[in-house]
């Protein structure tokens, strides 16, 4: 290492060039710039050379220094940058290997700090040869964990999920709304194709392709993405640190301390509920990576049956388990929800009556497939479905939504189709709002909004409708505990 510091591995020149080139190509394609192939090829060649020179210079002039107290990343290009990351502020340091990293024998070292600002991206993403990246990760970990060196070594406590678990998770963790929309487009494409085949309808422009494409976008792509992302999922806890390892194309090795978890979410979709499976997510700030996974909360358990989920909660995050005494919404909430539902339905029907008549006149006798047959009645059908959805959500909300205030933890249970129980620690709450609308005031109930630091920056978790003093209690406990900690 020179006095200036250490250079990153030159593979980042290729990686950055490819990423920018793809971005430019997409831009040209989207903008619909009409260009001849030879001109396009010439521009591409020149752009490639310019990008390579630019990123070569950036690589040449970027240095990293691992000091006693901090990491310094310095870029001496036209736009100069000097970033100092004190070890004391680092929340996690993770390794990440994409295809190019595997081909070049390198790893990306992701350094994240515990901040809501810029939470979904690491503070520094540093590519080194694999053995160097491992060594630096260990060195940084020693600073973070003050000598108690966590490792990814396999232990007896390691919980493995089978490939079938990963497939089931991919299929059934897609939100119910997306599944319904995707399923509708699949059904429409099948009916369209049937009508074209038996000669009832002509193949229009695109035929059944658009419906199939939408089915893929809404349902298949998210499911496949989950399967690739969580392939080979392993989790274990060693001391106060949780380790995660997963990924098919790009591999992820993530670790974080229990103290960094602000909340635990036990989640299930409608489909996974039918299979009696739930997944567990942790709200941890500072574990983002810059490849798109930063917007994903860390899962500490894929969809697993209820018994396994409970045992994993016990094993991985016992700090978030307590004797719960859940409270359902009171009679006042029932009145508020029913009144709101009726008002919303009446307004919706009144607003949609006239457009329904116009749509019937405009679309009678046009179009193919389910969409074509339903088009004249689309607005009344959608209105009726929305009214039914409102009635369903009122009834389910009354059954599902719960609040529970323990001594150190409290829980909100929410959700209509996809449900989640969010277990939060009073000590990690940033701010509490207790909110009362006119109807809620009339029926003497309120809802609470709890603000936390999360893996996506910040998150707000709402409760159902409960007596005001019940929810004020959460704020009061937060204040008491914060004051006790201060003194």
């Amino acid at each position: 290492m020179s006095e200036q510091g250490l250079r990153l591995h030159p593979i980042i020149i290729v990686e950055n060039t490819i990423r920018t080139a793809i971005g430019l190509l997409v831009l040209i394609f989207v903008a619909g710039v009409p260009l001849d192939i030879p001109i396009l090829a010439a521009i591409a060649a020149v752009a490639l050379v310019v990008l390579l020179v630019f990123y070569y210079r950036q690589w040449k002039l970027t240095f990293v220094r691992f000091g006693e107290t901090d990491i310094v990343v310095e870029r001496k290009t036209l736009f100069k940058l000097k970033k100092t990351i004190p070890y004391s502020r680092i929340a996690s340091v993770n390794l990440n290997r994409g295809v190019l990293n595997r081909l070049s024998g390198t790893s990306k070292l992701m350094v994240n700090i515990n901040s809501g600002h810029n939470a979904v991206r690491p503070e520094a993403s540093l590519t080194f040869e694999q053995h160097l990246a491992d060594r630096f990760r260990n060195d940084i970990s020693r600073h973070i964990y003050r000598g108690e060196m966590p490792s990814f070594e396999e232990t007896e406590q390691m919980v493995r999920f089978t490939t079938m678990d990963v497939i089931l998770h991919g299929l059934f963790s897609v939100s119910t709304q997306q599944t319904i929309i995707g399923g509708f487009f699949l059904l429409n494409s099948i009916v369209d194709q049937y009508r074209i085949t038996v000669g009832e309808a002509d193949a229009g422009p695109g035929g059944t392709f658009i419906s199939l494409l939408l089915f893929f976008i809404f349902l298949v792509l998210p499911a496949v993405r989950h399967m690739i992302y969580y392939y080979g999922f392993k989790v274990h806890r060693q001391g106060d640190t949780i380790f995660l390892e997963h990924g098919l194309i790009r591999t992820y090795k993530t670790s974080f301390r229990i103290s960094r978890i602000n909340a635990i979410r036990v989640k299930n979709t409608l489909a996974s509920r039918l299979l009696r499976r739930s997944s567990i997510e942790a709200e941890v700030v500072g574990i983002g990576s810059d490849d798109g996974s930063g917007t994903t909360r860390p899962l500490i358990s894929l969809l697993a049956n209820d018994a396994k989920t409970q045992s994993l909660l016990q094993e991985l995050v016992p700090e978030f388990i307590y004797e719960r005494q859940a409270e359902k919404q009171p009679a006042g909430a029932r009145r508020v929800l029913i009144t709101e539902g009726v008002i919303a339905s009446v307004i919706l029907i009144a607003v949609m009556a006239y457009p329904s008549l116009l749509a019937y006149d405009a679309f009678s006798g046009t179009g193919n497939g389910i969409i074509g047959a339903l088009l004249p009645y689309a607005i009344p059908i959608v209105t009726a479905l929305v009214v039914a959805a409102i009635a369903y959500s009122v009834s389910v909300s009354l059954k599902v939504r719960e609040v529970d205030t323990g001594e150190e933890l409290f829980t909100f249970v929410n959700g209509i189709l996809d449900r989640e129980a969010v277990i939060m620690s009073y000590d990690n709450v940033q701010m509490v709002h207790v909110v009362r609308g006119p109807l809620a005031r009339h029926f003497d109930v309120s809802s609470a909004q709890v603000f936390l630091l999360s893996s996506m920056g910040k998150s707000m978790i709402s409760s159902g409708l409960f007596p005001e003093d019940r929810l004020e209690k959460i704020g009061n406990i937060v204040m008491e505990r914060a004051a006790a900690m201060k003194h």
């Binding site: 700030v285 709450v429 701010m431 009362r436 603000f451 009061n476 900690m485 201060k486």
Partner: protein, 171 residues
Amino acid sequence: MDMETSEPTGAETDSYRRLNRKCMLSMYITNGITYTILLAAFILLLIFVPALRESTFSIVTILAAAGMVLLLVYFIVGPRIYYDRYRYMITADKVDVRYGIIILRHILVPIERVHQVEVSRGPVNNMLGLANVNITTAGGVATISYLEIDEAEKIVERLTELINSMLRDRE
């Protein structure tokens, strides 16, 4: 300072404090400007889009006009209700704000969680000598609105002092 109630003055109190009456004037001016712009846009639309005057769209026009009337009522009545309901309190441990016109909100922010405090002034507030105090935590921002500038500065000073002493204690 023109305080309406007999509550104690100073940036730190053990009882709720109210806003200065000038907050209503600030809201009336802001609402007046906003309403004038909206009304002008609505009238211009009616003049330059003849379709809106045709019978097919009459219901849309009537609904929009009704919306404008409701908004006018809200803009006239709102500031008084806002002023009457607004309460805030800053103790050594927390910032507590209660406000709302249609939806009432009670905000509690532990001083422990405050990262940053700032005073902000828009042109109308600036003209009337009022300011907002924005209290930033890692989970979001809470605002105490329409404070007299001196009061806002005192609150910021007090909160900064509390945060600094807390950080010193930690070290």
